[in-house]
């Protein structure tokens, strides 16, 4: 068994810094109906707008903390994901026990050259803190439309596992 101690030279990597743009934006969009509701309440008299600003700030701070506290690394044997601010958690899976690799990208991700990468194991990992989800990694340059970008450098995540169909 080769644990983290036997492969100390493999560095822990961070998620793409650009995900700092995506996550707060998505969180704010999700909060939008709520914020509009608060705005409506405010228009009827009250101090509800402070709550709105507070929740928006909270969303931004939460994404920054999530980015700062999430790291991953891929050794010859295993894939590791480390997350958590107060209670820290290190997840690891043997590379030959990985059952699926899912990548997804909606428009905002594509504009920023990001892809969300999820590594599927046999474990039921619905909860965010317990999943091998890397949201998001850099896949290419930040430009729009994508065909104007030329050929971007091959991202390290493309060779995450030996059986991935590389170009």
């Amino acid at each position: 068994m080769s644990g983290s101690a036997s492969e100390p030279d493999v560095v822990w990597l961070r998620l793409s810094p650009r995900s700092l743009i995506v996550r707060p934006t998505m969180d704010l969009l999700r909060l939008l109906p709520f914020l509009l509701g608060l705005l409506y309440l405010r228009s009827r008299g009250g101090s509800a707008n402070y709550w709105g600003v507070g929740f928006a700030l909270l969303a931004v701070v939460a994404s920054i903390v999530r980015w700062l506290t999430t790291r991953y690394r891929i050794t010859d044997e295993r894939v590791y994901v480390r997350r958590g601010l107060l209670s820290q958690k290190v997840l690891s899976v043997s590379r030959d026990r990985v059952r699926t690799v899912d990548l997804s990208a909606h428009v905002l991700y594509r504009m920023l050259g990001l892809r969300r990468v999820s590594i599927g194991t046999g474990r039921n990992d619905r909860r965010d803190g317990e999943s091998f989800r890397l949201d998001a990694l850099t896949f290419g340059r930040c430009c729009w439309p994508p065909r104007s970008c030329g050929s971007p450098p091959v991202p390290p995540a493309a060779s995450l596992l030996p059986w991935m169909p590389q170009a």
């Binding site: 990985v98 059952r99 699926t100 046999g122």
Partner: protein, 170 residues
């Protein structure tokens, strides 16, 4: 692995899955989107009439009819350009979606069950889909909108490929 495929413009580093789905899938998706749009509009018409709403609400009904029509006209062709699949000697690889795009890669050595399913709509249009499960918590990998002979061929191909890998696919 030999770099034999064309690079995926949407996913640098990985290649575009080599096979497209059946052209008939476009018709199927169009029919399904149109039907869904019609149901929505029909419900709205009933609500406006039965609820005795102001005539202004007909604008909303017309608007949703237009959105439904545009969706049914654009989405299937867009989807057809995105949906692709490939079986390599090591992995099953699919790309799907339209506005948002998903890629799924499952190693052949982890495939547990392979099955094919045809809904009523798919049967009408002569289509089939193939599902390969790998016991991943992320769910099985689906390839939708295949024509019948391709689906049969794919089932055989996957069955042979999984049979050739020693071990118990744990």
């Amino acid at each position: 692995m030999t770099p034999d495929g064309t690079a995926d413009r949407l996913l640098p580093g990985l290649r575009t899955p080599s096979n497209q789905v059946s052209r008939r899938a476009v018709t199927y998706w169009t029919a399904r989107a149109a039907l869904n749009g019609l149901v929505v509009v029909a419900v709205e018409v009933v609500v406006v009439i039965a609820g005795g709403l102001a005539p202004g609400w007909w604008i909303a009904v017309a608007l949703s009819a237009i959105i439904g029509a545009v969706h049914a006209a654009i989405m299937p062709h867009w989807r057809y350009r995105v949906h692709r699949w490939e079986v390599t000697d090591q992995a099953l690889y699919t790309r799907s979606g339209w506005f948002s795009v998903q890629w799924r890669i499952a190693p052949i050595s982890r495939i547990q069950t392979i099955d094919s399913h045809r809904s009523l709509g798919e049967r009408i249009f002569g289509l089939a889909n193939v599902t390969a499960s790998t016991a991943s918590a992320a769910g099985p990998v689906h390839i939708r909108g295949l024509d019948l002979s391709t689906a049969d061929r794919l089932l055989d191909e996957l069955a042979i490929a999984t049979g050739q890998i020693p071990g118990d696919a744990t």
